[in-house]
């Protein structure tokens, strides 16, 4: 050990450290190049995730298991106060497990939100569930159709369905948010795509691809993007895309449900300042829904899809007929016949409608009640325009009777929750629709007969 060596050694150390630093940079870059879904996930992960996945070691699976057990037990007991944190940890331990993300989001949107008395608080938790899946879960498993399915489910069932007592609040808030991008019933894609701020916000804040949405509008739409069903359809479609050639039956089911729902109530009359939130049928998408059903049936082969399809066409026949769209109703009837020969047991469209409409009305749920009521009002206005006052009155009477019988069967507290639109609003919308649909001359006749605003 000479004197010279003594000072040389630290120098060597420094040089070696510099070399190691250079190698480190190269390795980090290499890992980056190895693509997402590998080391990249942990590279972007917050320290907690990085630490738990590596430092927790072999305990990781076990700890996740134990936390999962605790979470399941708490959920069974209906105790949700701790679930958010538990699920947070489980997702940190198993960030790429879609089951956990789904469970976590479900808890936020369904269980925790239900504990809040205030609608605003409830909406915050529903949104948190959506954001969790969309903003965090999808980062870890961008290619897992299950994640898209869960997201789509929340839009379709939590926000879209009338089960939650604050569901109208959710729908209002979502429509308000979306009105920034889509002020009317139809999206102005050229304008949105041209505006960097709008399309950028969609991409950044909502993780939605405007180009994809536009394509979707032309393939399956047009959609009213202020409605949750459109978003349910969007995420289901993204899930199908992520599934690739394997396809995803679950996503397709949701897509079809969302499309059916869009057919039933896919157009929104939204005047927040007056508190008007009226959904009405979007009958233009009928052929596209049929196509979607056929596409899905071709992909998945023998499933329960044909049953759902039959149900849809059956219902579409009735609704289209109620709204006076004879040709489309006939087309739907023909499809139904071709699909299930002999099942209808009737000679033609007229007979089918007359046999089935009563049963349909009797079993109608909230959304169908609104649809049929509007349909009968619409029919009435058409008769009015044609000058047949008796038939017009009968249709009007039919609409009101049907509405009343539905309303009177419900206990008041569940009516509150259903938040049915005002009957007048429904009638007014039917009037507006009739004015648009009728040729100018007949429209004028209707105006004369009914007076402005549909008042007789």
């Amino acid at each position: 050990m000479t004197r010279r060596w003594t000072w040389l050694l630290p120098l060597v150390a420094v040089l070696l450290f510099a070399a190691a630093a250079e190698r480190n940079e190269a390795l980090v870059a290499m890992r980056g190049r190895m693509g997402p879904g590998s080391g990249d996930v942990l590279r972007n992960a917050p320290p907690l995730v990085a630490l738990t996945t590596v430092a927790f070691g072999g305990l990781r699976g076990l700890v996740a298991d134990i936390l999962w057990l605790r979470a399941s037990r708490l959920q069974e007991e209906g105790e949700y106060f701790e679930l958010v944190q538990l699920a947070d940890w489980i997702t940190a331990l198993e960030p790429r497990c879609s089951e956990i993300w789904g469970f976590h989001a479900w808890n936020m949107a369904y269980n925790v939100s239900a504990m809040m008395s205030d609608s605003e608080d409830r909406w915050r938790w529903v949104r948190s569930g959506v954001e969790l899946l969309r903003d965090r879960g999808l980062t870890y498993s961008p290619s897992d159709p299950k994640m898209y399915f869960e997201l789509s489910w929340l839009f379709r069932n939590k926000i879209g369905h009338p089960l939650d007592r604050s569901h109208m609040f959710y729908k209002h808030r979502w429509a308000e948010e979306m009105s920034v991008f889509f002020p009317g019933q139809r999206a102005d894609w050229p304008a949105i795509l041209a505006s960097e701020s709008l399309s950028g916000r969609l991409r950044r804040e909502y993780r939605m691809d405007p180009e994809f949405m536009r394509q979707m509008d032309s393939d399956y739409g047009p959609f009213d993007w202020r409605l949750p069903d459109s978003h349910a359809a969007y995420w289901a479609l993204r899930g199908r895309e992520a599934a690739g050639r394997r396809g995803s039956l679950a996503c397709d089911r949701l897509l079809l449900q969302a499309l059916v729902s869009s057919f039933l109530q896919g157009q929104l009359v939204f005047r927040p300042e007056e508190g008007v939130f009226l959904t009405t049928p979007n009958m233009d998408i009928f052929p596209k829904v049929v196509n979607a059903f056929e596409e899905a049936a071709a992909m998945h082969g023998e499933t329960t899809l044909p049953v759902a399809f039959a149900g849809f066409v059956r219902e579409a026949t009735l609704i289209l007929y109620t709204f006076g769209r004879r040709e489309q109703a006939q087309a739907a009837f023909n499809i139904m016949r071709a699909r299930t020969p002999g099942a209808t047991g009737v000679s033609g469209l007229e007979e089918f409608v007359s046999v089935n409409i009563d049963r349909a009305l009797k079993n109608a749920n909230r959304e169908r009640v609104v649809v049929y009521t509007e349909g009968f009002f619409y029919q009435g206005f058409l008769w009015l325009a044609a000058g047949d006052v008796d038939k017009a009155a009968a249709s009007d009477e039919m609409a009101r009777r049907h509405w009343d019988s539905y309303v009177s069967a419900k206990p008041p507290e569940s009516l509150r929750q259903l938040a049915l639109p005002a009957l007048d609003d429904v009638r007014r919308h039917a009037y507006g629709r009739a004015l648009i649909d009728l040729p100018p001359a007949l429209a004028q006749k209707l105006r004369d007969a009914a007076g402005e605003g549909g008042q007789e």
């Binding site: 050990m1 070696l16 879904g37 320290p47 305990l59 699976g61 198993e94």
Partner: protein
């Protein structure tokens, strides 16, 4: 030549000392048994079969490897420096550099021995893990119970035989136990390599997930780097603070990419730290195996270079400390 002999003698001594520690056998046994138990114990596999077992086993390899090397490094050097053993050796014509480097070589060989065991156990336990097989003859979920049985019996047999060897021929229990454990794992590995996972004989099939091998190799490299750090720290601190400091280095190195890597472009300090701290993420590639991924050979080569250069740097630093530290 003399220097080489001295070096090997010292390194063998350091390795032998560590191998004879009861805690070494305990840690190895627990690690292997835990790995073997992973596919049996875990219930919620959250969708992906084998992945959880694979990652769990690799993480066990890492964590127990750190315990083994950390214990070996801190206890051997720190204790010998205070207990006077180091002084006794250094008064012989042995340079401090030689002594230090030989200690490192000894500890690394212990880490390698441990890693061989751990890698074999990882391969076997991944094989045991339940998986869905769409086979025309045997469909459905298949668990390779025969392999599980062989691994568990291997653990018990190695302990019993080590006991007999110790009783009859006074072989040291700990090191012979470890040797037998490794042997039994190797035997299981070779025998089970001749069967498919349904237990049907098919010679030279070697139905193992070979992608695990490079991942295990990377962890072994990480252990080598860790040994250098622990050794450098133990030139300055007694055993307990060394362990604490090692934990610190481990944690900081794990989050280095996230904390310092992301801030590297904005802050010079962060960039420097990101470069200088050992980046364990470079050696943790279990995630790369998800979805059928593989760790390419060139990555392994690059990582080995990094581990070599980094270890050398830490060793040079540690040697600087060791030259100036008081011994005895």
């Amino acid at each position: 030549m003399l220097r080489f002999r001295q070096f090997t003698a010292l390194a063998a001594l350091a390795a032998g000392e560590s191998l004879r520690q009861p805690i070494f056998l305990l840690l190895s046994l627990t690690c292997v048994a835990w790995m073997a138990a992973l596919p049996v114990v875990l219930m919620h596999k959250f969708g992906e079969d084998g992945k959880l077992v694979r990652e769990g086993a690799l993480a066990l390899h890492f964590v127990f490897g750190i315990l083994v090397t950390g214990h070996a490094a801190s206890w051997s050097l720190a204790r010998e420096m205070r207990g006077g053993t180091a002084a006794a050796v250094l008064t012989k014509p042995v340079g401090r550099d030689m002594f230090y480097l030989a200690k490192y070589a000894g500890i690394v060989s212990v880490a390698v021995a441990f890693s061989v065991c751990a890698a074999l156990a990882t391969l076997l336990s991944e094989r045991v893990s339940e998986r869905f097989v769409a086979d025309p003859v045997l469909g459905g979920y298949v668990t390779d119970w025969n392999t599980a049985r062989m691994v568990f019996s291997g653990i018990i047999v190695s302990l019993v035989v080590a006991g007999v060897l110790n009783y009859r021929w006074r072989f040291p229990f700990q090191s012979s136990g470890f040797g037998l454990l490794a042997g039994m794992l190797l035997l299981t590995f070779i025998v089970r390599g001749q069967f498919d996972i349904h237990g049907r004989l098919s010679p030279m099939l070697w139905a193992y997930d070979w992608r695990i091998v490079p991942a295990s190799l990377l962890i072994t490299l990480a252990l080598a780097v860790f040994a250098a750090i622990a050794l450098a720290l133990s030139t300055r601190f007694p055993a307990a603070p060394t362990v604490a400091a090692c934990c610190g280095v481990l944690l900081v190195g794990l989050v280095s990419d996230y904390v310092f890597g992301t801030a590297a472009s904005r802050s010079f300090a962060a960039a420097t730290l990101h470069r200088v701290l050992p980046n364990w993420q470079n050696f943790w590639m279990a995630d790369a195996l998800a979805d059928g991924g593989v760790i390419p050979g060139w990555y392994l080569l690059e990582a080995a270079t990094y581990a070599g250069v980094y270890s050398a740097a830490v060793l040079a630093l540690g040697l600087t400390f060791f030259r100036r530290s008081d011994v005895g």
